[in-house]
């Protein structure tokens, strides 16, 4: 038997005189819980997985190559599609790498607008992540409760930039528009209402005995493994490594803002298990709320975008920037040859690294745990393939 790209040998295992064979399951690309088009070739012995080989590439759209053809300004809307769940960070990454190439200074208010938009997007992305995770474990209501709040964030972002998912809000040198009138009041009111709802959410699902039983001590990733496999963001922090680009290699206005970097502590379950990854995201939502409140308070007046020529021709050279996206350290690399078009663009994303560890952690787990592992690593399919 052969599945596209995989030669599958059927093993005959004789045990207690019984002829048993491993079952090869093809999970995806179309499967309800693969969060897009992911594919796993799972070898299972009954319900126990022996192997789960990820097969990437079903959502490859050559986004990096497109950059070479559409130019610096024109590429901005395409960056939204790199990670459509957290598009602001991709916007920010591309804007920052262009600014670094050309040495442009972004006005202070522009930076604050960026951080506000990005942190709202982080909350929205984490809500989607935890919502789909509980949905994969079979709880339906918390998903809708998470999405109800995410809708309100989408409303706010729509007011800010006219789009609900693919924002295209940032520009090289700043942001496209200043905050609309009344935005700060509306956003603060939302945060005041939203913050206590996190407790409700925890009571409803996070601390539910069945839920904790499904996630705690499952798919444990040690700090060493997490570093070796290049995990980033909440996945890395859940393993106990306190690394956050916003704090360790600060960019934008993050040095002026106080916030904590939550890590997995193992209060429930152990450090680095599925529950720790989930719990870090819940705590990061609280930190994002803290950051947003400070931004509203500290925001100066002034322009939001620097003067950038319409024909943007950065000097020849290359630049690499890091952005702490909702899925962790997102690297943007661009090479300029002095023309209007970038010579090369490369994006480094967290989901791709997270895909590679799935096979290691899922060996010996039950079939039902594979969906928990995928969800807890917060893999977004377009970000894997770009």
């Amino acid at each position: 038997m052969s599945l596209a790209g995989f030669e599958v040998e059927v093993e005959q295992v004789g045990r207690n005189g019984l002829e048993t064979e491993e079952m090869t399951l093809n999970m995806g690309p179309q499967h309800p819980s693969t969060h897009g088009v992911l594919r796993f070739v799972v070898k299972a012995d009954g319900e126990v997985m022996r192997e789960a080989i990820p097969d990437v590439g079903y959502l490859h759209r050559s986004i990096e190559k497109i950059a070479e053809k559409v130019g610096y300004h024109g590429f901005m809307p395409y960056t939204d599609r790199v990670d459509y769940v957290a598009a602001m960070f991709c916007n920010q990454g591309w804007a920052m790498v262009c600014e670094k190439l050309a040495g442009i200074e972004v006005p202070k208010r522009g930076e604050y607008c960026r951080v506000i938009a990005a942190e709202f997007n982080r909350i929205a992305s984490h809500l989607l992540s935890i919502g789909t995770m509980v949905l994969d474990i079979g709880a339906i209501t918390p998903f809708f409760h998470a999405f109800r709040e995410r809708e309100k964030i989408n409303d706010l972002l729509e007011e800010l930039c006219g789009a609900r998912l693919t924002y295209n809000y940032m520009r090289i040198g700043g942001v496209a528009w200043d905050l609309p009138p009344g935005f700060v009041e509306k956003a603060s009111a939302f945060l005041d209402r939203f913050e206590p709802l996190i407790d409700e959410y925890n009571d409803l699902i996070s601390l539910n005995k069945i839920y904790v039983g499904r996630c705690a001590n499952v798919a444990v990733i040690s700090a060493e493994d997490a570093i070796n496999y290049n995990l980033v963001g909440p996945n890395l922090r859940a393993s106990g490594v306190r690394y956050d680009v916003r704090r360790d290699e600060p960019y934008s206005v993050y040095p002026e803002i106080e916030f904590d970097v939550p890590v997995g502590t193992g209060e429930i379950g152990c450090v680095g298990d599925s529950f720790a990854r989930y719990w870090v995201r819940i705590q990061e939502i609280r930190e994002s709320i803290k950051i947003l409140r400070q931004c509203f308070k500290q925001m100066p007046d002034g322009p939001v975008i620097a003067k950038v020529p319409r024909k943007f021709k950065p000097p020849a050279g290359d630049a690499y920037v890091r952005v702490e996206s909702a899925r962790g350290d997102m690297g943007w690399y661009a090479v300029s040859d002095g023309t209007e078009y970038p010579y090369r663009c490369k994006v480094r994303t967290g989901s791709f690294a997270a895909m590679s560890i799935i096979d290691k952690v899922s060996r010996g787990l039950m079939l039902a745990d594979l969906v928990t592992v995928i969800a807890s690593l917060d893999i977004v399919a377009p970000e894997v393939d770009r």
């Binding site: 819980s33 509980v134 994969d136 079979g138 339906i140 209501t141 409760h145 206590p196 839920y211 039902a368």
Partner: protein, 395 residues
């Protein structure tokens, strides 16, 4: 029924046909009326009500387009499914594939024979009523296993095997929680069990002793598992097994599985209400036979529908457990506890053959205390989350 047919024959109708065939046809017609008039309607309406109940819990609106307030949504869904193309996968075993939905439906519909809707409204008050019910509902698992195997799809197969393991395991705590009632009532007949109880909660078997009180919850859990309801919906776990054993089914065959799942909910509650919650017992306020039966029917129906709504509530709230946890829950906790209850009840029946009034009142007080605490917690959470309540069902 037989008198009615005898009357018809005496009046000269159907004289050309042998009497046995008339009786047989009469039973078929009666069964058809029961199935189409009650069973399918209950199962169908339950799908609509479940969607609306979920919608309220999940701050959504729910279906409200087809018919007034969307009440005809279930009919539209059913007709849509009947119109769909009936696909049989090329690699499937066509005979078993076609047979499976019938087996499942048979197991489900046959259970209605002994459901006591009122003192008189019951198809057959078998003297082995509850035993018959547990036996025929086990037919469902044969159908599910058949469906999982015949589909020739690995996800279906896993779903079918999971269902078989789950339903067979949970039959044991379920049966062990039915026995205490049989011990107390001294009969297997559904009507007999209800007649031993009274309309007032202290006379219900759930408050008979601490053991029956525990057995009630064990039975509810075990029956939820047998009915493949969350948190035990592993055989059709959407996020894991696509749709489990129904993955390859379409159209009307899918409709049958769908109906059985929602119809089974009603059977589950009917069993609980019959055994533990006083069945159709009503206060003696009227002697009129029709009126009394109507009242009894309404009481029974509302009590069992409350159980259905609670199962919906549980489904909307709880996540799904894993296969190994499912088995642990059953064999390590439910089975020993159920055994303990069974033995405890046996001792109890020997010591107090008529039951102890004091304990019954205490247990009733405890039961209502638990209920009051539950509502207190609900109110607390509502206040804290500052939820905007939408109490009107029509919105």
């Amino acid at each position: 029924m037989q008198e009615f047919l005898d009357g018809l024959i005496a009046q000269g109708y159907l004289a050309a046909v042998p009497a046995e065939i008339v009786y047989a046809l009469g039973i078929v017609v009666a069964a058809a009326i029961v199935i189409f008039g009650f069973v399918l309607v209950v199962a169908g309406v339950t799908t609509f009500i479940e969607r609306r109940v979920w919608a309220r819990i999940q701050s959504r609106v729910g279906p409200n387009r087809v018919g007034p307030q969307g009440t005809l949504q279930w009919l539209a869904d059913g007709i849509k499914l009947l119109m769909k193309e009936d696909l049989i996968p090329a690699a499937a075993d066509p005979r078993l594939f076609k047979l499976a939905p019938y087996v499942v439906t048979m197991g489900f519909v046959a259970a209605f024979v002994v459901v006591p809707f009122s003192g008189a409204l019951v198809v057959a008050d078998l003297n082995v009523g509850i035993l018959y019910l547990t036996a025929v509902t086990s037919l469902v698992v044969v159908g599910i296993l058949m469906a999982g195997w015949a589909s020739n799809n690995k996800w279906s197969l896993i779903g079918g095997i999971r269902a078989a393991a789950q339903i067979i395991s949970y039959e044991i705590p379920a049966a062990l929680s039915i026995f205490p009632i049989v011990l107390i009532a001294g009969t297997l007949s559904m009507q007999g069990i209800i007649r031993q109880q009274g309309w007032f909660p202290t006379d219900w078997f759930v408050f008979h002793s601490p053991f029956t009180f525990m057995a009630f919850f064990i039975l509810f859990t075990a029956l939820l598992a047998e009915g493949n309801r969350t948190p035990f919906d592993l055989p059709e776990a959407e996020s894991e097994l696509v749709a489990g054993f129904v993955t390859e089914y379409t159209g009307s065959r899918y409709l049958f599985f769908f109906l059985v799942e929602w119809g089974n909910l009603y059977i589950i509650s009917a069993v609980l209400v019959t055994l533990y919650l006083g069945g159709w017992q009503v206060p003696p306020i009227t002697d009129h036979p029709v009126l009394r039966n109507l009242l009894q029917f309404l009481t029974f129906f509302l009590k069992s529908y409350l159980g259905v709504v609670i199962a919906m509530w549980i489904r909307a709230t709880l996540p799904r457990i894993r296969v190994d946890q499912l088995m642990t829950t059953c064999w390590k906790y439910l089975v020993p506890l159920a055994f303990f209850n069974f033995l405890g009840t046996a001792v109890w029946v020997v010591i107090w053959p008529q039951g102890s009034r004091v304990v019954e009142y205490l247990m009733t007080a405890l039961g209502f205390g638990v209920l009051a605490y539950f509502f207190h917690r609900v109110a607390f959470h509502l206040r804290r989350s500052r939820a905007e309540l939408l109490l009107s069902p029509f919105a």
